[in-house]
Structures are given as structure tokens and as C-alpha cells.
């Protein structure tokens, strides 16, 4: 999300400064109504403050306490955080989260880009894209449900692979880590390719024709045309799509919760699932809050670093 902030700074007119021809500072007529202005923002601000910011601060505080939901939180300093350091379940959880980040930024985004580039100027491209859009309509929970049944041992997936004579027919997809995480990443790719493709197609269709035509006349085609003309033109878009996938992958929860609940034996947990389990299954509100703080820190840091790198590139 932070990825967007710097972009919107450029894109959003109107907060300060003049707005082009004919703009002028509000005169007395405006000032008369100035006292109503806060009334227009305050409902939004109030809602966000009470339901988003207040819980945020509260969680940060709870991460410094021992609390089981009953009684009152007991302050224990940084104990929850030192405990995080040698919690084996957290190690697995971090590894899985990294797998999710790697897998979902490479596969759905990369393949989405591939399909978009191959199909955007082909006659009947819409039909080629349809198979990828169908799965996108499914929710994370619906997806987890149907794939849970497909991937169960001796289930449809095993039979199907056997039917095609492909390897993997006897794999227990959801039983061992990290195979179960990889299986879920593949499922996620199946669903998410569509939306990434859609965004890339919109982007490709809106890039200016002139430079492409010029390059064509100069004899560029195929890979060279893409690499040296189209790719640079769609950079701002790829930055955003990639950034969104990055942030979303760090927060993976729904599909894992529905397919494996993080199991078996906590082998497929992501940070978001670990937090939920610590709080609502193990009743460790303080410790779970520390995991939430860790997740927030990682997400914030990732978006910050990603944005900084991208902006650095634009300036060059």
C-alpha cells in the first residue's frame, strides 16, 4: 500500500497549490462556509480513528503483555519478542511466508504478464484470456474449499496425474512441509493469474502506439520490440502490480486457513495464520499481538524498501 502513496502524490491534484488556468484562491464566499468543512471529514476520520488506529495502538501495547483474554493484561516488557526468537513454529512460518512472497510475485505476476503480452494484440484475444479469468471469480475461501477436496490424498488431483501418466500421482500434496505450501502457491497462481493479466492488458492497451509503430518500421519485432520498447513503456504499471502482489503475499491467510488451517503440525502456517492461531486457538493474546507487530513491521519494511528502490530507478 505504501507503494501507492508516492504515486498518488504525483497523480492527485487539488490539495495544495494552483490548479491550472483559471484557478484562484477561494475568496470570501468560501471562507464563510469554512466552518462546515470539518463536518465533512470528521465522520471518515472518526471511523478510521476508532476502528483502525485505536486497535493498532492497542495491539502494539498488548504485544508487551501477557494476556489470555480474561482478567487484565500483565506487562512483561519484551518477553514476547525474545520468545519469538526461539519459537520453532515461527521459523517455519517465516520460511513459508517467504515462499509465498517468492512464489506469488513470480508466478501469477510473471505468467499474467506473459499471457497479457501474448494476447493483447491478437485477434480474439478475449477468448484466449477467458480460461484465466474464470478462476479469478472465486474467493480465497471457495478456492481453498474446492482445492482441499481436489488435493486430498487419493483425491482427484492424484487420479488425474495418474490418468495423464505424469509424475506426482502418489504425492500427498497437503501432508508435508514445505510441499503443502508450494501446492497452495500453485492453487493461488491458478486463481490470481487472471487479475494480473487483466491489469497488464489494460496497461498494454493504453500505452502510446507511436513509439511501437516507429520501432516496427525500424525493423524491431518479437522479443526485441518487447524488451526495448514495450517493457520500458509499461514500467510504472509493473511496479504497481508487482508491489501489490508483494504486499498481499506477506499477508496470506484465507487460502491457508481453509485448506490446511496451517497444519498438519503447523507446517504450512504463514505469519498471518500463526498470529490467528496464537490468539484464537492458543489464547495467547499478548504473544499473538507480538506476531502481528512482526507481520506489520515486515510488511511496512518490504513496501518501503521496494518503493525506495523503484523511485531510485525512476530518478536515474
Amino acid at each position: 500500500m505504501t507503494a501507492q502513496n508516492t504515486l498518488l502524490r504525483k497523480a492527485a491534484p487539488g490539495d495544495t497549490g494552483p490548479r491550472g488556468p483559471g484557478a484562484r484562491r477561494p475568496g470570501r464566499g468560501f471562507a464563510l462556509f469554512g466552518r462546515f468543512r470539518p463536518a465533512f471529514v470528521s465522520p471518515a476520520v472518526l471511523l478510521v480513528a476508532v476502528l483502525l488506529y485505536l486497535p493498532f495502538v492497542w495491539t502494539a501495547w498488548l504485544s508487551l503483555t501477557r494476556y489470555d483474554g480474561l482478567g487484565s493484561p500483565e506487562f512483561i516488557g519484551l518477553d514476547n519478542y525474545t520468545r519469538l526468537l526461539d519459537d520453532p513454529a515461527l521459523g517455519t512460518s517465516i520460511r513459508n511466508t517467504l515462499l509465498w512472497v517468492l512464489g506469488t510475485t513470480v508466478l501469477p505476476v510473471g505468467l499474467g504478464l506473459l499471457v497479457a503480452v501474448l494476447s493483447y494484440d491478437v485477434k480474439g484475444g478475449g477468448w484466449y484470456r477467458l480460461p484465466f479469468l474464470l478462476p479469478y471469480a472465486m474467493s480465497g475461501a471457495g478456492l481453498g474449499l474446492v482445492w482441499g477436496f481436489i488435493l486430498q490424498p487419493e483425491g482427484v488431483a492424484n487420479r488425474f496425474l495418474g490418468f495423464l501418466g505424469m509424475p506426482g500421482a502418489d504425492t500427498a500434496f497437503l501432508s508435508d512441509g514445505p510441499e503443502n505450501t508450494i501446492a497452495m502457491i500453485v492453487v493461488w497462481t491458478w486463481q490470481q493469474l487472471g487479475v494480473n493479466m487483466l491489469l497488464f492488458v489494460v496497461g498494454l492497451q493504453s500505452i502510446p502506439r507511436a513509439p511501437i509503430e516507429a520501432a516496427r518500421i525500424d525493423g524491431a519485432s518479437g522479443w526485441r520490440l518487447f524488451r526495448h520498447v514495450i517493457w520500458p513503456l509499461m514500467r510504472p504499471l509493473t511496479t504497481v502490480v508487482f508491489g501489490l502482489a508483494l504486499v498481499a503475499s506477506l499477508k496470506t491467510f484465507d487460502i491457508v486457513w481453509v485448506m490446511t488451517q496451517g497444519g498438519p503440525g503447523r507446517t504450512s502456517e504463514t505469519l498471518a495464520v500463526t498470529m490467528y492461531r496464537d490468539v484464537f486457538v492458543a489464547d495467547e493474546y499478548g504473544y499473538g499481538s507480538a506476531v502481528a507487530v512482526l507481520l506489520t513491521t515486515v510488511t511496512g519494511l518490504a513496501s518501503y524498501l521496494y518503493m525506495r528502490r523503484q523511485i531510485g530507478k525512476e530518478d536515474r
Binding site: N5, A11, G22, A44, V45, L111, M138, L199, L271, G288
Partner: protein, 271 residues
Amino acid sequence: MRVLRHAVLVLLGLVWLAPTYLIVGNALRPATEYDPADAMRPPTDFALFANIGEVWERTELGPSMLSSLLYSLVSPAAAVLLGALAGYAIVVLRLRRGFLWFMIIYGGSIFPFQMLLVPLFVGYSKTPLYDARSGMILIYTAISVPLAALVMRNFFGGIAVSIFEAARMDGASTFRIFWRIYLPLSWTAMAAVFILEFTFIWNDLLFGLTLTQSESTRPVMTELSALTTDVYAGTPVPVALAAGLVVSVPTVAVFLLTQRLFTRGLTLAQV
């Protein structure tokens, strides 16, 4: 080159269609005839509606779809209105330190929801909001406001100030100008945000898990996720697949009917 391009598209498309076929094909199959060994074979009988009937009988998916419909209609509508009001104050009325106020509202969408769950659960439990429809509408509205504010602010920024000035000359009140001029002018942006947020809330699992308990308030995805746990162990595969398809109907419909608006929403939400 051309041929290769088409070949890659067709091949990938087939790979993508295979699971779709397995899901739809087996959702159509009569529940009693399901056998994983035969899962690839096309169904001989059409039993989708029987399976859906079974879903209705075995689970509380019906009532929870109604709850989710309520949440995903009311909350985005409220959020769009609140976001539009805020955007109007910041951009059109030029609220002092408008950018700061905007960042405060928008910043609410930056951190993961995990950061909210414990306090919301504890706080809701101490009030009548826990396991209540009002509580769900409230939190869904709150998480929808930042995006609405972002899009509406950007959109209002593109409307000429002279419109405001002319209306002011004619003696229209600040609120009237908002209601009668700015809102009607921006309905496409509002619709795009509404559709995105409708989809998001319909698909929400996390808040439903955390803040509801009883069947009458549970949103649909939370109820659906219960199908995989032991409560419903023994649900025949075709019935579960049918359930997975049924709950996707509203979002598929919205997506197909409004594909252009939807895509526009995705782009608006990012820039």
C-alpha cells in the same frame, strides 16, 4: 513466431481449464455417484441443483449469504458516501491541512488486519457489537473508507472549480452542491469503488471468523470454511464443490456485468 504465440496461449489455457473442468464437472455429479477414480469422466447425470439443495439442508450457507449480501451492500455504500464527503472537504472546500487529513484516513489501510483483530475481538465482546450485524457493518465500513476516500479525492480533483463557484453564485449551500452536483458527476468512480469493495467484503473470511459466532450473523465465507473442518466432515465432494460454486455466483455476476467498471476500479485504486 505467430504460431508459437497461439500455441503457448492455447496450451496455458488448457492447463488452466483442467481444474475448472474438474471442479464444475464434479459439482454437477450426483453426490452418491462420486468416486475419485472417475473424477475425470464427464458426469452422466445433471445433479447440480440437487447438490445445491443438499448444501442448503446440511449447512447454514443460505442465511449467511443473506447476511453477507447485507454487509457487502450497506458497508461499501456507507464508505463511498463518507469517502466522498471527506474528499469533497479536502479537495473542493480546501480544508486546511487537507493532505494531512487525507493521509490520516488513507493510512488506515496500510497495516495488515492482524493488527486489529485482538482489540476488535476484546472490544466487541464488551459491547453488544460482538456477533451482531451492526458490528460487522461497522468494521466493514471502516476498512472500506480509506480506498473510497482515495478514489473520490482523486476524482473530485479533476472536476473544474468553476462548477463549484457557479453553483455558489446561484446560492446553493455547500452540502447541496455536494449532493446535487458532485455526487451525480462522479457516479462512475463511486460505482467502481462500490464494486471492488462489494467483492472484497463478500470474500472476507478473517473478520467473520473473529467477530461472529452464530449462524444468523456469520458471513458466507466463514460459514463455507466450516465445511472443511470436522463439523461437516463427511460432506460429499460434489456437495462441497457445489457450495464453493454457489457462493461465487454474486461476485461472478458482478464481475461479468461490470467488467469494464471493475477494471476501471482496479486501475483507479492504484494510481
